[in-house]
Symmetry: D2
Subunit: 351 residues, 4 copies
């Protein structure tokens, strides 16, 4: 009989906290043993989240955030608090010796100057930043398994990097002139009371936002520059979808030598063959966000447009599961010595 | 050439204010000449509402609410502010001699004690309450035409009263044992930043709220008691729909002498034959909220259930247009001597 | 090590077939070993359902429906075909000695005359009808465990019966004068190409259908008559919701002796305390369909309206999971000697 | 008193026919006098479209399509039938001397070879093709006013051309390397019964389709080549939005000499200053589909990305109104000597 791993969660009121609670409720080896929130402390978790009643975790009483308490009750802690706040929580938790998965952006950008420019926030934990591992399991699985602090990737970067990595690695496409036209479900905008995300402002409508200046841009560029072996500067452009969950990134790249689609498709299949979750669709098929709803899958469709000599990559994930809390749990699995997909072989909810 | 009528609007930031601005933009005889809001004063209306640009009203600069300013610039003023605040605005405007259509609940309930009990608010304008006319044009058209203060009906009461009035008037149904199961689009919940009306909390879900204790209950009972000639006490139960606009009231009544559906249908047709907007559907047809979207129509479907000796009435309106701002404009039309449907022969937006 | 149970599915193209495939993909003891469809035979199941790729079942090749084939490859078979067709499939499968869970209506109604009247179909398997057990695990768990043919309940009846059963059993409410106002997500309408269920016909709209004459009426009456100990004749009235999944039944009952809400609430808690899935909400709370999305839960909210002496029961399920395929799997669990909730302790997908 | 213009419509069952019926119901100078449909002949139009009851057109009886009948009853005819069928109807109607606005693609592509290649259909009316005028009022208003056959533009081309025209005309951007990432509401997919456009297949999901090979590609290239003065070959990539109406085209162009955004914005304002409907948003603002819902507006947002030296143009229309039937009516206005916006100064429906 395996020992149960004890997880903590700081920040339970947002959608990523909610999703982690959902996923931990059916994890076979890890249980939520500590949940903290300034605003909700004192409530049972099941009272705060009626969907959780009769499931593991429902009877946990929400605590005030406290590193020593967390250390006493947990093996690993998930941070689901805003960037800026997360870096200090992480330092406190690491000082207690706890393993930490940070879902914020605070440890994703290796270059402090780039972080401070894009996030307009001074980084107070530079030493810790050196220690952090970027938590994309397909790329950094071994390092994650040894890490004590994992920076969980952003939702858009997860979709973008998984979609472009093989084409850049094989040099099929130019590392210049990349355009990512990305669309995200509204849960990506968080759970804060605000007029622009009210039902009647989002439903039956569609709009772009932060064109050319979204903070996920340097994160995507950082990882793609590594694989391309050259600085990548790309145009990243997000839009808001009237759906709950799902990211669809349509990515436009200039082909270098115009390889055939067969060759590209084979390379993608080969590149991701060991991932439990990346599904390269058959040629001629395109992904849909519903096919990954509630799951860890990343579905990739490939189109070669000979008229304009472009490769078009469609990469689709669930922004809350694969793009946040599910990936955080995959990282925690690795950090705790479990198989990466333990508790994460989730079937998408259709329809 | 007719003189243009000048309208004022106090409260532009909510959905009812927004809808009134939309409707006035295409009114042939009335123009918005004064728009006021504490929080948005100083902005052009088109800046606040980009949908309005290039349409009449876009260039109006939002003012601070002020009765004297309103009097200098308007013939009639619409109040789209919360109940409790409206009664005092109304008094100030009436003191300046202005005609007023109040979209709040402050003047809907004739019995002050009932108002104060359900709204938990003292009524500061009891004299004015005597003067107010309940603004349901099909019932009180003549009185509205002579009124200086009209209490615009609530959205649910509009659907409920129009749907049950003929059956009660003809004595087809018992005035006891009425159940109204009503469903409203989310715009009915207003435009305040709040977690329960965020897109991800409403979309792809459905729930009841305020069962048996919604504030529209006494308003419906007041008007149905008059037509029934006896006190009506009914069970009114609202639900929240993941749609922008639309109310669907399904109403269950006990038949008295079990008349045939033909007789009831004929009586409904006759009762509403002079209304430009009530559409009694053919026997066997049921209404859909989309069929009235953006319009003044009230679509009524009638079902007789011989197994349970009930009449089921489905009454459908657009909660923002017929259930609020469009009806307010119809009342203003009457108060200004225009045909009730001037500028309001609107075709529903389909799909 | 337990022996794996082998499941078959006849009818894979509809939403209930799709849902069963999803649920079996994560069942720890039962695997889909035979899938049949006339129109899709020859395809891999993962090709037909891209959401399933990389999950158990994806590599199964869809067969022609055939009882002998099924018998050779399965321990138990789920029938997800239209009523009328199911009864004959069931006979063939039973002749081969197979255990059968029928998701159609063919074996739900014990009185053949009632079935033939409401479904306008002659029943060709009257002997088999005697053998069938009504598959509501909370009511008939022991009989289901011994059955070879289970009639899986309809979606509306599941919500309705679970919601009214305790009140009728305790005699809190009159068995006359019951009104069920039910709202269902569009997946309940099936996956047939048809104009009325196109996106643009359903989205941002709401309507009633089949008022007073829906075929689930006699099924609900049958089960409630048993618990009430007297014939129940009720008014059942469905509506179509612009959501994928979820049923919300709002049920209006006349209180007999006006017990307090405390007494009723306690009785409900006691009645369903052994169910892994019925959650009686705290007094003052109302259910939401999203809180049960993708799960087996039935959330029940209770409201006592002293003004009209009514008990209002809100009962909420996921129509595809609890209301169809998940409940079918729970029945199969019992028939195969597994715990009823084996593979069915599913956390709802939020948001 | 002006003479009423008499309009005919062939094809009433699709969404474009439905929209034309809606718009004609409130047109001050033109009335629908002839409506034809093979499948619905004999019904009252109000019976077929309950939303239309009590509005002009409701009492029209649907006829069989017949050019002579149309000629007897109309001044101008709208063709809302599939491409391939439209060309022959147009020939018959023109032979009777009728003015025709064709909403299909049959007369949009000037080069027959290009048409026949992309549409895989032989063109049977080549002479008529010479006569046809491309019905984008902002570009061809004078020619439209003299035309007897107008090819109403496609929905995507309307958004694309209006958005890129000024930048190409002024030479701000390269005519090579254009990428259009377009998203359309589901009404653009038509009203045919089909599984992929069922509510449960579209709702809460998002997907691309026809990447690089949509038939609107040559239409956009044709018109942009004219303004660029050089052959334009672009990458056009459509996606399906879970909304009823609305197109959002996000267009990526390489800047030539990196002019400032001020200069580009000023040129756009100047270019479209005479259009009643193109609204160039203030710098820093981005369009939303709901801001144009039900209207003729085309909202354009401009972003200059100095990091990647690109101009990003967001162009937003209502695909059914501006992108089809409203534009058809604008063309009819011009052909009949009316102001282009007669009956088309429509306020968007918000929310």
């Amino acid at each position: 009989m395996h020992k149960e791993l004890r997880a903590g969660l700081i920040g339970v009121t947002g959608y990523t906290g909610m999703e982690l609670v959902r996923l931990l409720a059916s994890h076979p080896r890890m249980r939520l043993r500590f949940a903290a929130s300034r605003s909700e402390a004192g409530k049972r978790l099941g009272e705060h989240y009626p969907f959780l009643e009769k499931l593991p975790g429902a009877d946990l009483v929400i605590q005030q955030p406290d590193a020593k308490q967390a250390a006493a009750q947990c093996d690993i802690v998930f941070l689901a608090v805003p960037h800026g706040a997360a870096m200090n929580f992480a330092a406190d938790l690491r000082a207690e010796g706890l393993a930490v998965v940070d879902l914020s952006a605070d440890f994703r950008i290796r270059d402090v100057a780039v972080f401070e420019q894009w996030y307009a926030t001074a980084h107070s934990q530079r030493a810790l930043l050196q220690e952090a591992v970027y938590g994309l399991p397909e790329l950094y699985g071994e390092a994650i398994a040894k890490a004590k602090l994992v920076a969980n990737p952003g939702c858009y970067p997860t979709a973008g990097i998984l979609g472009l990595y093989p084409a850049l690695k094989h040099g099929f496409i130019s590392s210049e002139d990349l355009v990512i036209d990305a669309k995200s479900g509204t849960s990506g905008a968080g759970r804060k009371a605000a007029v622009p995300t009210l039902f009647c402002e989002v439903h039956d409508s569609f709009r772009a936002y932060n064109l050319g200046k979204h903070r996920h841009t340097p994160e995507i560029e950082q990882e793609l520059s590594i694989v391309a072996g050259a600085p990548v500067r790309l145009s990243f452009n997000p839009h808001l979808l009237p759906i709950d969950r799902g990211i669809h990134a349509t990515m436009y790249a200039k082909l270098k030598d115009v390889p055939g689609l067969d060759e590209i498709h084979t390379a993608y299949m080969e590149c991701w063959k060991d991932s439990p979750w990346v599904r390269v669709l058959p040629k001629g098929s395109l992904p849909e966000t519903r096919n990954v709803r509630g799951s860890m899958f990343c579905d990739i469709g490939l189109v070669l447009d000979p008229r304009t000599k472009r490769l078009i990559v469609c990469s689709v994930i669930d922004n809350l599961c694969r793009g946040a809390s599910g990936q955080a749990l995959a990282n925690a699995n690795l950090m705790c010595g479990l198989p990466v997909d333990c508790g994460l072989a989730l079937a998408p909810l259709m329809p």
